[in-house]
Every structure is written in structure tokens, then in C-alpha cells.
């Protein structure tokens, strides 16, 4: 039987680095430098809200903010994100106190299996921060990097529109 204590593959350079996630610094030690940001968030920091569904930046399930930019966590090497502000779905709102976007997704029926949902929540917040009153076509274009296999997108568009309306004071 081989050595069972090794936490990482035994080749490669294993240095400590720091990730600033949801306002907190995390020291990442003894990690293989080949790990993606998505892997480190999930497996080393226990932040399981970001999902992996394609591992090549096509589906958006792993969407997180890095220095306010919406990126696919699967395409970012974790060690390259040191010194940057990382926000994950867990950093959007406290547990049990959902954001307006999160609540609207639930209320509008925009959630079925829910696997794409954290990524879409991240993308929707980013969209509405950039463009508070997007047209339907703008919503489609801006969110087209996030794939949903369950809903056909209709209720998601409805949820985004509800938030936009509510944020400008409820006037239709």
C-alpha cells in the first residue's frame, strides 16, 4: 500500500498562497498548483455553491466575481487569483436572507433542478449592476453564457424583469 498521508500529487511545486474570498483571506497550503479556482473554492474552502458542469467555460455554472468581473471559476487557476477580490454565491447574501435576485428566482419559478442557478444568480447581479433596466433581448444576450437545461429560460427572464421593475420602485 502506498503512502496515504499525501494530500496532493507528489510532483509539482506546492507553495502557500492566499485567496481573498467573500471578504476573508484564506491561506491555501500544500495544494497542487494545477488546481482551478473552482476546485479550490469547493474542495479546499468548502464553498460548494459554485458548480462545475462543463469545465471549459461554456455553461457558466461556476460563475464567480474576480475583482468585480464575472468569470468562469473553472477557467481560472486558483493560484493566479491571489490579491484579487473573489465573490462567490455564498458571498451574495447571508444564508436565510436571500438577495432580491435570489428571491425573485424562487418566486418566478426560475429554479428547477437548481444546478445552473448559483451561476445565473451571479450573472444576473452582474447584469443588473451594469444595466439596471435591460430589455428582454439584452437579458438574453447578457445571460447567454449561462446554460440551463431544465427551464427553457422563460421563468428566468421573468425573474430578472421582476427585479428590474422592483428596483426602480415597482413602476411597470
Amino acid at each position: 500500500m502506498s503512502d496515504t498521508t499525501a494530500a496532493v500529487p507528489t510532483t509539482g511545486s506546492n507553495q502557500m498562497y492566499v485567496l481573498h474570498v467573500n471578504g476573508v483571506d484564506h491561506e491555501i497550503r500544500d495544494a497542487w498548483l494545477g488546481e482551478s479556482l473552482l476546485y479550490v473554492l469547493r474542495e479546499r474552502l468548502g464553498l460548494m455553491g459554485s458548480k462545475g458542469a462543463c469545465e471549459q467555460g461554456e455553461c457558466g455554472s461556476c460563475s464567480v466575481l474576480v475583482d468585480d468581473e464575472l468569470v468562469c471559476g473553472c477557467l481560472v487557476l486558483a493560484a493566479s487569483a491571489t490579491g484579487q477580490r473573489i465573490v462567490t454565491i455564498e458571498g451574495v447574501a447571508p444564508v436565510g436572507a436571500p438577495s432580491d435576485v435570489q428571491q425573485a428566482f424562487v418566486d418566478a419559478g426560475a429554479v428547477q433542478c437548481g444546478f445552473c442557478t448559483p451561476g445565473l444568480i451571479m450573472a444576473t447581479h452582474a447584469l443588473l449592476d451594469r444595466s439596471p433596466e435591460p430589455t428582454e433581448y439584452e437579458i438574453r444576450e447578457e445571460l447567454s453564457g449561462n446554460v440551463c437545461r431544465c427551464t427553457g429560460y422563460g421563468r428566468i427572464i421573468e425573474a430578472v424583469q421582476r427585479v428590474a421593475v422592483a428596483r426602480r420602485g415597482g413602476a411597470a
Partner: protein
């Protein structure tokens, strides 16, 4: 081993007492798991881990057909961090598994029969260690000529690639006057490509071995816990009760989780190492590791009167089942028995084969054989319309099936069958007011968007139709019952069932049923696992009917207990009692006791199994009452096509669907829109491409899924005629949306460009050349 941290969520849903009664049948309450899902705290199976857990990974065949000469595992064992390496020799029990015929090896031993077939598995401390260990395993193969032409499997000209032969099933249907002919005859060949379910939540599981290896606990995303358990236990040579399954959060299913994939491998590695093991597939591995929609070739000929009434249908169907049986025989039966579509037809000759090839195994996908049949019969209806000088709506109305009509199997349709109403209500929905390219002239609205600019003046708009019939529940004598246990305690109802929640929303519906029957606000959903009787599979549009019937039945039994108790306490005949809002009331007197008060300090509990009526096997002529029930739907598609670049933009889908009764209208709309998205995908973009038995696009860059930009507007009408045969009056709604939406889109493309398209998905080259 330290204590594990794997947990599943018990969900409580509460409505404030005193507020109006909400969340009952016919309302659209929010999902009980909704907040957890939007906040990222809902635990999908891939999110589960346990202290000290290892990673598992699977070595797969690179060849479509080869003999295994030797396997050398020493390279893997030499890598630090590797804890187990297993092959077929390490499977303690039955070496094969399968839903109907157990012909699929846990690991290939003598032969590999498709690219991606599991050959070995490893457990190690890190996914990267696993990858290196797999790369270090040396397998020597003698490569053989693969069987890639399903026709050669059907006609027997290729030597058997499996001891069970190359034909999974042949079924003939002969009905009525086989010599009958009509004044109008139309025929064509049709072809349907291989579609992937492409659920987003990749296959993942966590297995935790019992101390001493006497049993195992598996957390897994699946559609049918009890069926998995039986197959896993047989392969592990363990009694079923020693294999305990809990549903890990399921990130979509659509049929792909009905078969075993990683279940046995994960358990075996956990038992071997004595430690928890997680396996999580990559997207490429997911494409290789689960069954797909059967590609099919269908020849079909319709005979009709000059005014368009169908006289006889003839069809020949060959479905490519890939390397192992899975549910191919049942998929075939669905295809051949639905060949007439939702139309009256007295005479038929249908021949169908499901065959074995060295392609990826095929099995269940939403629509289950009926998608393929519908693509052919709807193409035929348009041909017939053209030959008779009728429009597509008129030809369908003239032949529309009604309650009391017979299938070509001789089975009488006893369900509500509002085919005519589905067509007329769909036709009544408004066409899109948006001109080609949209009101604002944004090039993004053109086929291909801004990146592939079409000349606006060349774009043509087309309209097409599709109408479908779909069986609900399982067929051919199978008793796919469902079980539920209900406990009413202090005004709170606890529901226990093994019904796999895959995103469809049964967890929402179950609470609605309990609130309606028991007059409670608070419903607790207990963990979904194998500590209660089977619920059957979350497939075949069956859980609202079957598990809904089980929860309803158990709630009614508990309500009888409650009424007996209240009646005895107050000297009132229990038969006079009813639930009104949150109260037990005497329908013939003044008694009114809140349910919460009547149950204070007391426990009422009962279990109910819901069985549908029995069905029969087909005879050699394909005659018999093989199906349980049916639902109907119509779709109208509007597309814009760029005939020079071969690009399609689906502009709108209109639909009217026979739902029986909409128990949760918002969920029904979600199923309709989501199903249509998958139907649109099969029409214009989704296909697994295999060349010489090798998969060429097992990733989301090359296998295209509809995005926000590809998905058209959906306008829908729910046709609500509660079905007396259904426990809650409701028909399953999951599959119909993805059945006739595909032929509707393809018909619209034909209409736009005047070309005879007979293959789906329609590729740019099919349009241009």
C-alpha cells in the same frame, strides 16, 4: 474512520397560521428547496463528502470494439496516494447489470464494445492522482472491426458482437386489413440523430462502507433508488438491505439517470478501501458514461382517402441501441405502438427493430421512443396534407383521435383525448408580431446573430406543426407502483417517500397534496431514501400520477384516522366529517375543530401504495392493452431561416397541452418551456456525432445546447379536463413538450425554404445543399 459529514436536507415548509390558506392543489407555491438552491447551499450529489474520503476514477475503453489481451495495473499501484485499483476480477457478485436484460459489464473483461466502456477504476487521495493512475494502467487490446451500421445488425449480416446477439428486440404490429390502400399514398425515409440528456449536474456519488465491509451507504443522484439498490446489491453480492441509498441532490436527469453508471464502481472502491469514496464525472465522461436517445431510421407510408382520411399506415423502424440493452426493448415498443400518432387509424403494418452496435449505449430520454415515431408521423402528415391539397391544421383535425378510438395495438383510448382541442387552441394563439430581424433591426435577432450576418432580405419565415400522443407510466405488464408514508403529529404532516426529485418539483406537489387533504399548513419532507417502499422511477411522466397518488392515498388514510378520533371525541359519525381550510368540520352540524388542536399530542400514521391498472404484453402481431394511459399535445413553430448560410432562428413556439388538471400551474409552465427547449435542441443543434464508433463532440463546446438566445418565446394554453382515471385528475406533463416540438420546428424550416428535410437535427448543410 472518523464520523462522516454527509447529510441530506430535511425540508420544512411553513405558511403563517392565520393567513389565507395557500399552497394547496391548484396553487403555485414556491419550491421548498428553492431558497437553498438560489443561495448555493442545496447539496447536490457532487457536493457531498465525508471525512477521510478518497476520489475514484474510471479507466475507459478507447476502442469501439476490441478484445482485451492483458491488463497491467502495476503502474497505477506504484503511484503514491493510490489506495485501490479494481477490474472485472474484483466484482464479487453478478458481473453485469441492466434495467431489463443484465448484459452490461460492471467492468469489461474479455471484450470492450464501445468507446468509453469501463475497464478499471482507481481510488486515490486527489483527482489528479487518479488521473495519473489511470494513465499508468497498461491495457493491451486486439482491435476488432466495429459494428456501426444498425441495418447490418438488423439483417443479421454482421457476426454477433455479444453472446446475446445483435438484435435486442423485433416487434411487428399487424392490424386490420393489411391489403387496404388509399387513393393517396405518401412515403418517405426519416432519420433522427442521437441526443444527449445533457443534465448540468454531472454524475456524482459518495459511498460510505460499513465497518467490516458488511454493507455500504450510497448517496447518489438517480431517478430510481430501489432499482439501483437491487442492481448494486447483486453486483456486490450483498443482501439488498445492506445497500442503503439516499438521494443526493439531482442536477437534472431526463432519463440519463435511470441506468446505473458509477454506482457499483463507487461502492466497490469504498468496500475495497474501507474508506468513503467520491466519484465525480467530467462532462466528457458523462457523455460516455450514460445512455442516450436512440438514433433511428424510419421508413413510413400513409394511405389515405382523397379528402385526407388515413386508411392505413406502414412503417419500418430501426433503432440503434448501442452496445448494451438498457431499456432498448421498451423504447422500441413505445416507438412502434405510437407510429400512428394522435390520429384515427384502422389498418397498420409496422415492423421495428432495436439492435446492438458498437455505439454508445442508448436507453431512456424524455419522450422514450415516441420522439422518434413522432418525427416520422408528423413529416408524413405534412406530406399527406400537400398531396390532398389541405393545410397542415386541416389534415390533423380530420384525423384527430378521440376517447374511444383504438391504437394500432387494438387498445382503446379510455383517457380524456382532446386532440382536436389541442390543435384548435394552439392555432388560436397569436403569431409573433415581430418581423424578421425584430422591430428594432438589431442584427442579433437574425439567424446566426451578429457573428454570422445574414442578408436580411434573403431570410424567409416558415410555420410548421407537430401533434403528439404519449403514453404515461410503464407498459407491458410492469407494475410500477409508488409508496408513501404520512405521519400527522401536532398539526404537522411528515411525508416519507423514495420519489426522486430531479428538479421537476414533486417535493412542491407533495406538500400541496398534504395541505389539501389534511388541512395543515406545515409539511415536513423526510429524506428521500430506501428506508420506505419503492416509488418507481422518476420517468415516463409518471410521478405526479403515481407518487402523487401514493401521497394522496396515504393522506386520505390518515385523514380517516383523524376523523375517527374526532368523531369519537365529539360523538359524531366520522362519515359526516370533512376538512375545511385548517379545520375538521361536521358537514351536518356545527362542530369545527382545528386540525392542529385535534392532533395535539397525538400521532396518526399510515402508508399507501398506489398501483395503476394492470397492462398486458403485446402478442406476436403487436396486439394488446400494453399501455396505462395517454396524454396529448400540439405545437406550432415559427422560424426564420437564412437559406444561404443554413442558419435557423426559432422565433416562437405555440402549444396547447392536455394536462388533465394543473395541480401547480407554474410548475406545469416550467415543464412545458423546458421540454420545448429540448425539442428545439433536437430540431436544430443537438446531436452526438460518432464516426467509426468514436464520439467526436463529447463536450459543451461541440455538442450545442440551446442558450437564452436560441430559445424562442413560448406561448402556451393548458387544456384542463381532469382525467377520471388519474388519482388527482392530473396527467404527467414532462414528456409531451419535447415530442412534437421537434417536428414542428423542422416542418417550419421546410415551409420556409421549400425543401424536403427528413433528418433531425437539421444541419446548415441540409438547408444549403
Amino acid at each position: 474512520m472518523s464520523a462522516t459529514t454527509a447529510t441530506t436536507t430535511t425540508t420544512t415548509t411553513t405558511t403563517t397560521t392565520g393567513a389565507p390558506v395557500t399552497g394547496r392543489l391548484g396553487d403555485s407555491p414556491v419550491r421548498p428547496d428553492g431558497i437553498a438552491k438560489v443561495q448555493g447551499s442545496f447539496a447536490f450529489s457532487g457536493d457531498l463528502s465525508a471525512d477521510g474520503s478518497l476520489w475514484g476514477a474510471t479507466l475507459r475503453s478507447p476502442h469501439p470494439y476490441a478484445r482485451i489481451v492483458s491488463i497491467d495495473l502495476s503502474g497505477a499501484w506504484a503511484i503514491n496516494g493510490v489506495e485501490a485499483v479494481v477490474t472485472a476480477e474484483d466484482v464479487p457478485g453478478k458481473p453485469t447489470y441492466g434495467l431489463i436484460d443484465q448484459d452490461q459489464p460492471v467492468f469489461a473483461s474479455e471484450y470492450v464494445r464501445y468507446v468509453g466502456e469501463p475497464v478499471a477504476a482507481v481510488a486515490a487521495n486527489h483527482p489528479e492522482t487518479c488521473r495519473r493512475a489511470l494513465a499508468a494502467i497498461r491495457v493491451e487490446y486486439e482491435v476488432l472491426e466495429p459494428l456501426t451500421d444498425p441495418e447490418r445488425a438488423a439483417d443479421g449480416t454482421f457476426p454477433p458482437i455479444h453472446p446475446n446477439g445483435n438484435v435486442f428486440r423485433h416487434q411487428r404490429i399487424v392490424r386490420g386489413d393489411t391489403e387496404a390502400t388509399g387513393e393517396v399514398v405518401v412515403e418517405s425515409d426519416y432519420e433522427i440523430g442521437m441526443q444527449d440528456q445533457a443534465f448540468l449536474g454531472l454524475e456524482a456519488a459518495l459511498a460510505i462502507p460499513d465497518p467490516g465491509g458488511e454493507g455500504v451507504e450510497l448517496y447518489v443522484a438517480t431517478q430510481w433508488l430501489h432499482e439501483d439498490r437491487g442492481q448494486i446489491a447483486a453486483c456486490l453480492d450483498l443482501p439488498a438491505e445492506k445497500v442503503r441509498l439516499t438521494l443526493g441532490g439531482v442536477g437534472g436527469a431526463f432519463g440519463a439517470r435511470e441506468d446505473i453508471s458509477l454506482q457499483v464502481h463507487t461502492c466497490l472502491l469504498a468496500l475495497r478501501t474501507g474508506r468513503p469514496v467520491r466519484i465525480a464525472y467530467s462532462r466528457e465522461e458523462s457523455f460516455l458514461g450514460h445512455v442516450h436517445r436512440h438514433p433511428a431510421r424510419i421508413w413510413m407510408r400513409h394511405h389515405a382517402t382523397r379528402d385526407g382520411k388515413i386508411v392505413k399506415i406502414e412503417a419500418r423502424i430501426v433503432m440503434d441501441g448501442g452496445a448494451y440493452a438498457s431499456t432498448s426493448s421498451a423504447v422500441l415498443i413505445n416507438a412502434v405502438t405510437h407510429m400512428q400518432g394522435p390520429y384515427k387509424c384502422e389498418n397498420a403494418v409496422v415492423d421495428g427493430w432495436a439492435v446492438r452496435t458498437n455505439h454508445l449505449p442508448c436507453g431512456a430520454m424524455r419522450g422514450f421512443g415516441v420522439v422518434q415515431a413522432c418525427f416520422a408521423h408528423e413529416g408524413q402528415m405534412d406530406r399527406l396534407a400537400a398531396a390532398c391539397g389541405l393545410d397542415p391544421v386541416e389534415i390533423r383535425l380530420r384525423n384527430a383521435m378521440e376517447t374511444g378510438d383504438r391504437l394500432i395495438t387494438g387498445q382503446v383510448i379510455e383517457n380524456v383525448a382532446p386532440v382536436r382541442e389541442c390543435i384548435l387552441e394552439t392555432a388560436a394563439l397569436p403569431l409573433p408580431d415581430e418581423p424578421v430581424g425584430g422591430h428594432d433591426g438589431d442584427p442579433m435577432r437574425l439567424p446566426g446573430g451578429a457573428g454570422l450576418t445574414a442578408d436580411r432580405s434573403h431570410i424567409r419565415r416558415g410555420i410548421g406543426w407537430g401533434v403528439a400522443i404519449k403514453n404515461l407510466m410503464y407498459s407491458e405488464g410492469f407494475d410500477d407502483f409508488s409508496t408513501a408514508r404520512v405521519t400527522l403529529r401536532d398539526g404537522v404532516a411528515s411525508l416519507k417517500f423514495a420519489t426522486a426529485e430531479v428538479g421537476q418539483g414533486f417535493v412542491t406537489l407533495a406538500g400541496q397534496i398534504a395541505r389539501s387533504v389534511l388541512g395543515v399548513d406545515d409539511v415536513v419532507l423526510e429524506p428521500i431514501d430506501t428506508t420506505v417502499g419503492s416509488a418507481g422511477s422518476t420517468s415516463a411522466s409518471r410521478q405526479t400520477w403515481m407518487s402523487g397518488g401514493a401521497v394522496d392515498g396515504a393522506c386520505r388514510l390518515v385523514r380517516e384516522q383523524l376523523f375517527a378520533h374526532v368523531g369519537a371525541q365529539h360523538g359524531v359519525d366520522p362519515l359526516r366529517l370533512a376538512i375545511d381550510g385548517r379545520d375538521v368540520v361536521d358537514t351536518m352540524g356545527d362542530l369545527c375543530v382545528p386540525v392542529a388542536q385535534a392532533t395535539a399530542g397525538l400521532v396518526f400514521e399510515d402508508t399507501f401504495e398506489h398501483h395503476h391498472r394492470p397492462t398486458e404484453e403485446l402478442d406476436e402481431n403487436g396486439q394488446g392493452n400494453c399501455h396505462t394511459a395517454f396524454a396529448f399535445v400540439a405545437h406550432r413553430a415559427v422560424v426564420d431561416v437564412d437559406p444561404e448560410l443554413g442558419l435557423v432562428k426559432v422565433v416562437q413556439i405555440a402549444t396547447a397541452q392536455d394536462v388533465g388538471r394543473a395541480l401547480n400551474p407554474l410548475s406545469v409552465i416550467g415543464q412545458i418551456e423546458g421540454g420545448i427547449a429540448q425539442g428545439v435542441g433536437l430540431a436544430v443543434m443537438e446531436e452526438i456525432v460518432q464516426i467509426d464508433g468514436r464520439v467526436r463532440n463529447a463536450n459543451f463546446t461541440d455538442y450545442l445546447l440551446p442558450t437564452f438566445l436560441d430559445m424562442p418565446d413560448v406561448v402556451a394554453t393548458l387544456i384542463e379536463h381532469p382525467d377520471p382515471m388519474a388519482p388527482l385528475g392530473a396527467k404527467g406533463v414532462g414528456e409531451p413538450p419535447c415530442i412534437s416540438s421537434t417536428p414542428a420546428v423542422v416542418a417550419a424550416i421546410r415551409d420556409a425554404i421549400g425543401k424536403d428535410l427528413t433528418r433531425t437535427p437539421v444541419r446548415p448543410s441540409d438547408i444549403v445543399f
